[in-house]
């Protein structure tokens, strides 16, 4: 089993790579490859899209790799391969993002990515640090994860889903901030599982065994 971590020059892939490698080793299955090659993505059994940074810049960087998005899209939307987006990689699943300017997302999960606007002015933006998850639905990737478990977040925008059924978890930060989205063979986490210690590694491990 081959899991492709898509590298499109967006942020730090090292810790994500190490977290996926470690869990693949513990499960005794599969290889993790960091790649920008459409050919490699096309033959991967699972795809992970990480990313840090601003929505428009990340989208542009991804599309600057000729054929890369097309390869991801074909694998995910036509072949139904399991897909996980992390942070910006999750936000780009939306219909559109409103960071700096309006940018079209993949529109795989309906909704918009909007600025976090906590009602309490004492709450800082970015939302940075450990927050506890409120689970709203069961999912194979969330097996062993409970409401109250902590995950590590760092972001200033968040994903407002159009259909509440697509939101699997939120955290409280002056408002309900989307933490996990999912639809069919697609899942996305706003937080960084690779930096979220026990709960994060469990999610990574579950994803590697997920058969949607």
């Amino acid at each position: 089993m081959l899991t492709a971590l898509v590298d499109y020059d967006s942020g730090n892939l090292h810790s994500a790579h190490k977290a996926f490698e470690r869990m693949a080793r513990e499960r005794g299955e599969g290889t993790i490859v960091v790649t920008s090659e459409p050919d490699v993505v096309a033959k991967a059994d699972r795809i992970v899209l990480p990313g840090d940074g601003a929505f428009p810049a990340c989208k542009k960087q991804l599309f600057d790799y000729s054929g890369l998005f097309e390869a991801i899209s074909e694998a995910v939307t036509e072949k139904g391969r399991p897909f996980m987006g992390i942070c910006i990689g999750m936000q780009m699943l939306a219909t559109r993002g409103l960071e700096y300017e309006e940018t079209k997302g993949f529109d795989w999960i309906g909704g918009e990515v909007v600025k976090i606007e906590p009602s309490d002015p004492a709450l800082k933006v970015p939302h940075m640090g450990w927050n506890n998850l409120h689970l709203e639905g069961a999912h194979p990737v969330l097996e062993g994860i409970e409401t109250g478990d902590h995950a590590y977040f760092v972001h200033s925008y968040h994903f407002k889903v159009a259909d509440p059924a697509h939101r699997l978890a939120y955290v409280n930060y002056g408002e309900e901030v989307t933490a996990i989205v999912a639809r069919d063979n697609i899942i996305g986490t706003q937080f960084h599982p690779e930096k979220s210690q026990r709960a994060g590694l469990r999610i990574v491990s579950n994803f590697l065994g997920w058969k949607p």
């Binding site: 970015p126 940075m128 640090g129 506890n132 200033s156």
Partner: protein
């Protein structure tokens, strides 16, 4: 809800922890990776490595440490000390750091923060500010703080030769895109007399990015004060944890008992 973070900081020189870490079960207390693993297991919320020599020749050692730490600790790692250019940021991120902290280079050229944030995102750009109280009012309350560099020995001056005001500088680097401020009170650092609360609160209330309080922690009440009175989003400490005065868990439980939201599980 979002939890207040406790961040142990390790001073590193030539690939070794400088002050030493006094934990049981540690095979090699001078090895930063061993110490990082111990803090990871102890429930630290983030880790910080400060390269205190940061000479060009030993950069490779720091990259190697970042790589080895990231292979074993699945929590955020900040690296600072001697970071001057966006190329330094890139190299540290590629090696395994999650955030990179500028200090003197940002005082000399605040635009380096903008260049780094544009490139890598604000979320991974920390700006460390070292400052001291320079003015008090008639009642002796501190009213003005100035930036110092070179470990607190040298007052930073603007182009007109005036001290650089810490509050104005914090606003400036926020506008340049810094994602977080690591604020160290140089007049408290190493004293164990507690944070410079007035300075911490003034800056935390002025900027809208998280402020990490640093410098002067001697007991657990100091950590509490940094948050409740200083309004810091996170507290950084070195010696009280390294020398085993308190465990991370004790600190977290104590802060929680004072009503501060902490990550206890």
């Amino acid at each position: 809800m979002l939890k207040t973070r406790i961040i142990p900081c390790l001073d590193v020189a030539d690939g070794r922890v400088v002050k030493g870490v006094n934990f049981v079960d540690l095979i090699d207390a001078g090895d930063p990776v061993e110490s990082a693993r111990a803090y990871d297991a102890a429930g630290a919320d983030e880790l910080c490595f400060l390269d205190i020599h940061a000479t060009h020749e030993n950069r490779g050692t720091m990259y190697d440490l970042a790589t080895r730490t990231a292979e074993q600790c699945f929590m955020p790692l900040t690296i600072g000390g001697g970071v001057r250019t966006t190329e330094d940021v890139r190299n540290l991120l590629l090696a395994g750091a999650d955030k990179v902290s500028f200090n003197s280079a940002a005082v000399a050229d605040p635009d380096v923060i903008a260049r780094a944030a544009d490139h890598f995102g604000s979320q991974c750009i920390v700006c460390a500010i070292d400052a001291k109280t320079i003015e008090w009012d008639a009642e002796g309350n501190p009213t003005k703080w100035a930036i110092f560099t070179h470990g607190g020995r040298k007052a930073a001056l603007d182009k007109d030769g005036h001290p650089i005001d810490a509050v104005e500088f914090a606003k400036l680097i926020e506008s340049k895109g810094a994602g977080e401020i690591l604020l160290t009170s140089m007049d408290r650092d190493g004293t164990r007399a507690g944070f410079n609360i007035a300075m911490t609160r003034t800056i935390a209330d002025t900027v809208n990015i998280p402020v990490i309080a640093s410098g002067g922690v001697g007991n657990l009440d100091h950590l509490v004060e940094g948050v409740t009175e200083g309004h810091a989003s996170a507290v950084l400490a070195a010696s009280i944890f390294h020398f085993g005065d308190y465990t991370i868990q004790e600190a977290k439980e104590y802060m929680a008992s004072k009503g501060i939201p902490m990550r206890l599980n």
